[in-house]
Symmetry: C2
């Protein structure tokens, strides 16, 4: 999917996520944007919805947070599966793509005649510097 020109709200939310060193919850984003005129959760959620659709932001289901894609120049939809290692110490996220894991999972799903639409792979633990 191509990324069209972002709107004002989408740009604000994206910039906040890009500058952050760790994933942010929607409400944290809201607080960071109050000075920019944000007043309600929906302003954040609507922007996030589009950013997720464009593939420039990922949602981390296991911690109800959002993070900017680590590979801004490529198209995340072409990567197949995306997996995340989330450090519970510093909050940092390492994003990675592995075609081996991808294929293996897809083969299994195929054998079950299961049509995959969305995948979540999140590993929680401690990164090199925090363990």
């Amino acid at each position: 999917m191509n990324t069209p020109q972002l709107t004002k709200n989408q740009t604000l939310v994206f910039d906040v996520l890009t500058k952050a060193e760790a994933p942010l919850s929607a409400y944290t984003i809201l607080d960071k944007l109050r000075d920019n005129g944000f007043r309600a959760p929906l302003q954040v959620y609507r922007a996030l919805e589009k950013l997720l659709e464009y593939g420039v932001v990922h949602r981390l289901e296991s911690i109800n947070s959002f993070v900017a894609c680590a590979h801004p120049n490529e198209d995340c939809h072409n990567h197949g599966l995306v997996a995340f290692a989330i450090c519970e110490g510093c909050g940092q996220v390492i994003e990675f793509h592995d075609h081996e894991v991808d294929h293996r999972l897809m083969d299994w799903l195929k054998s079950q005649k299961f049509k995959a639409e969305k995948a979540t792979i999140e590993i929680r633990g401690h990164c090199a510097t925090c363990s």
Copy 2:
């Protein structure tokens, strides 16, 4: 981890999950147990906490729900990774374990010196009968 004798509340919650054909949210479980004296969310969450610890119940992060382990006789903590295919049509969940995927992920994490503590793999889509 061994599974000790379950308490009354733990048994009630576990039975509800075992009889269910799809994952249930904590509040849905609460509603199903009102006739058994349940009145507050915490009664459910406390039971779930233990059941998760014993490995007889899994939490599905992507849909904020809980499901009984599909392999009651084995010890889920010995399985390494557990992955789930969740049907958005009928809600049914297929649980599976794949050592190949497991090893591949663990190798990658090792190369990053990342200490994994908990993993979430959830595929959402449509099962054979719902697609």
